[in-house]
């Protein structure tokens, strides 16, 4: 259980990384609390992997700082990293060694015994293929081995970068179940992925990064439910025109016989009053749940991620931005 006095597992303060003229991570600040399953979203090249690399100590920051388990000094960070299981980008193992031997290397570094190797192999369903060489593994098996390696040592924080890459739907489901199981056991999980449905199903919290900058951070529940109103009225044209002029409406669009609009303040009563003052009476007014995909599209300006999300903007989908002609 999470205690109030526990420090955040991860906290960054204006973290930046510049490569000559390119800024990969720009003034990024976020925090991950104990027990969260934290989704880190962003298009390719947004700075997700660089941010994780900074946290894991394999990339040197150009600016800002961060804390892991409340520690920020070099010895504290080194000690903190022993409490982390992580995999970055592709699964990185010795191709000439078997799956089991690769885990022995990891276990040796983490100072864990061989019984734990068998436990994590069974957990990811690789027990029977553990003696085969890593280079003979399919991508799905490599991903499972990476997941097994991260779980060695029973880490408190698990960082996974695109763990479902290259997996078939069944493989994705299995990985999702494993991650969910880890979350239920109280592990803090930091999951970078471009598979929005997977993140929505798995994560409790989410942050969205684009062009190196953090554009949104909240709980998945808040992100997907907060501020979007669904409205119905006998005169939908008049309703749409009125909502388009409503100062707190970020955007609005028609969906069949109703209108949806994102409200900056999420205040339905204020919207209702404002519409009533203009003689528009609504038959339905309620906050609506959005998919993470919708949120991502709005936050990133419909940049899209590898075809994983709908490329159309709200305007293209039949809606309009505030101030645009519907």
């Amino acid at each position: 259980m999470t205690s109030v006095s526990e420090p955040p597992i991860i906290q960054t303060f204006g973290l930046s990384k510049r490569y000559r003229k390119t800024t990969a991570v720009d003034d990024v600040s976020f925090r991950v609390e104990p027990g969260q399953v934290f989704g880190f979203l962003g298009p390719n090249g947004a700075g997700k992997t660089t941010t994780i690399g900074l946290l894991l100590g394999i990339i040197t920051p150009s600016g800002g700082r961060f804390e892991l388990f409340g520690g920020a000094s070099a010895p504290e960070l080194h000690a903190a990293r022993r409490r982390i299981g992580a995999t970055l980008e592709t699964p990185n193992f010795y191709p000439y060694l078997s799956g089991r031997d690769n885990l022995r290397i990891v276990a040796n570094v983490k100072r864990r015994g061989s019984t734990e190797i068998e436990r994590v192999l069974d957990l990811v369903g690789l027990g029977r293929r553990a003696k085969h060489k890593f280079k003979a593994y399919s991508l799905g098996m490599k991903q499972r081995l990476a997941l097994a390696a991260t779980m060695l040592g029973d880490p408190e924080l698990i960082i996974l970068d695109e763990p479902a890459n290259g997996l078939d739907p069944e493989g994705m489901r299995e990985i999702r179940e494993i991650i969910r199981g880890l979350g239920e056991r109280g592990k803090t999980i930091f999951l970078s992925s471009h598979l929005l449905t997977e993140v929505e199903r798995t994560c409790t919290h989410v942050a969205i990064i684009q062009d190196g900058q953090l554009v949104r951070q909240d709980s998945v529940a808040d992100v997907t439910s907060h501020g979007v109103a669904g409205l119905r009225s006998a005169d939908l044209e008049a309703l749409a025109a009125a909502v388009a002029e409503y100062p707190a409406a970020r955007w609005s669009k028609r969906r069949g016989d109703r209108l949806v609009a994102e409200l900056e303040d999420g205040d339905l009563a204020a919207l209702n009053t404002w519409l009533a003052e203009r003689g528009i009476h609504v038959s339905h007014l309620a906050l609506e749940a959005r998919s993470l995909e919708d949120v991502f599209m709005e936050a990133t300006g419909a940049a899209g991620i590898d075809g994983a999300v709908d490329q159309s903007s709200p305007a293209e989908a039949g809606g309009h931005r505030l101030g645009e002609v519907p």
């Binding site: 394999i58 040197t60 995999t87 980008e89 191709p95 000439y96 040796n108």
Partner: protein
């Protein structure tokens, strides 16, 4: 540190390249010493038995072993960057210092291993032709000093290989650069600079490979072998060999070994993984 070194041993002994390089050097040593053994049987004036045979066993061919050791160092270290296991090892909890230190420990290990292979194979061949009943000492101070000097030469070659591996981070190019420097690069550079700046010549002769090579001439350690080499040179009207001052050569070699390891470390630590 112990954990890092244990991991290194597992990686090394399970890597086919380790056995291929050891096997190739073993075969080359056997072929070379069979030649020596046959020649000795035909020429009674040039026998192949201990302790005289040490001059052949610890001759020029020892360098081949250090070349194999250096190739193996490059394969073991540079591949970690290609496979991104260097990065993963750090993610898994090794510090950069521990990772690099484990690689540095490979240098004495591999230098000693290839030297020991030559000594073991050569010693066995020579022992077969040795009359043990004569009671002569088969191994003495001269041989021990020679082995020490050659071991330092091996450390020099492999530290150059480690530097190339961490600086270039790719096996093929690192091997090409290392070999080019070893085979002709250093001599070309020293020759070129020496002709341009005559005053630099006394310094240039202490270039790394030249310095390491001063410690690998067996005749410098064994007076009897040196005497025979001098007689041979006189008979064939060749320049007489000179006795090197081994102290400065040892100090110079150790300086280069430490410099290469430290600069390699700074280079490795400075760059992102």
């Amino acid at each position: 540190m112990g954990a890092a070194f244990r991991s290194e041993m597992r990686k090394m002994w399970k890597r086919p390249a380790t056995w291929v390089t050891l096997g190739l050097f073993g075969l080359m040593t056997v072929a070379d010493l069979i030649g020596e053994y046959r020649r000795a049987r035909k020429d009674p004036d040039d026998p192949f038995f201990l302790p005289e045979a040490w001059s052949q066993i610890l001759g020029e061919e020892v360098v081949v072993g250090f070349i194999f050791a250096s190739v193996l160092v490059i394969l073991l270290v540079a591949a970690e960057f290609n496979w991104r296991t260097a990065r993963q090892n750090v993610i898994d909890g090794l510090s950069k210092t521990q990772w690099y230190s484990a690689k540095v420990l490979l240098l004495p290990l591999l230098s000693a291993l290839f030297l020991a292979l030559r000594v073991a194979v050569g010693g066995s061949f020579a022992l077969a032709g040795t009359d043990l009943s004569a009671g002569a000492a088969l191994f003495g101070t001269a041989q021990l000093s020679a082995l020490g000097g050659m071991f330092v030469t091996g450390l020099g070659y492999t530290s150059l290989a480690l530097f190339a591996a961490v600086a270039i981070r790719s096996s093929g190019p690192a091997m090409a650069v290392w070999f080019a420097w070893f085979a002709f690069g250093e001599r070309l550079l020293v020759g070129g600079l020496g002709s341009l700046f005559e005053s630099l010549r006394p310094v240039l002769k202490w270039a790394p490979v030249m310095t390491f090579d001063r410690l690998r001439d067996y005749s410098q350690y064994d007076p009897e072998t040196f005497r025979r080499a001098s007689e041979w040179a006189a008979r064939h009207e060749r320049p007489a060999p000179e006795l090197e001052a081994l102290g400065p050569a040892l100090a110079g070699s150790l300086y280069w070994i430490v410099a290469l390891i430290v600069v390699g470390w700074l280079w490795y630590r400075r760059r992102d993984l």
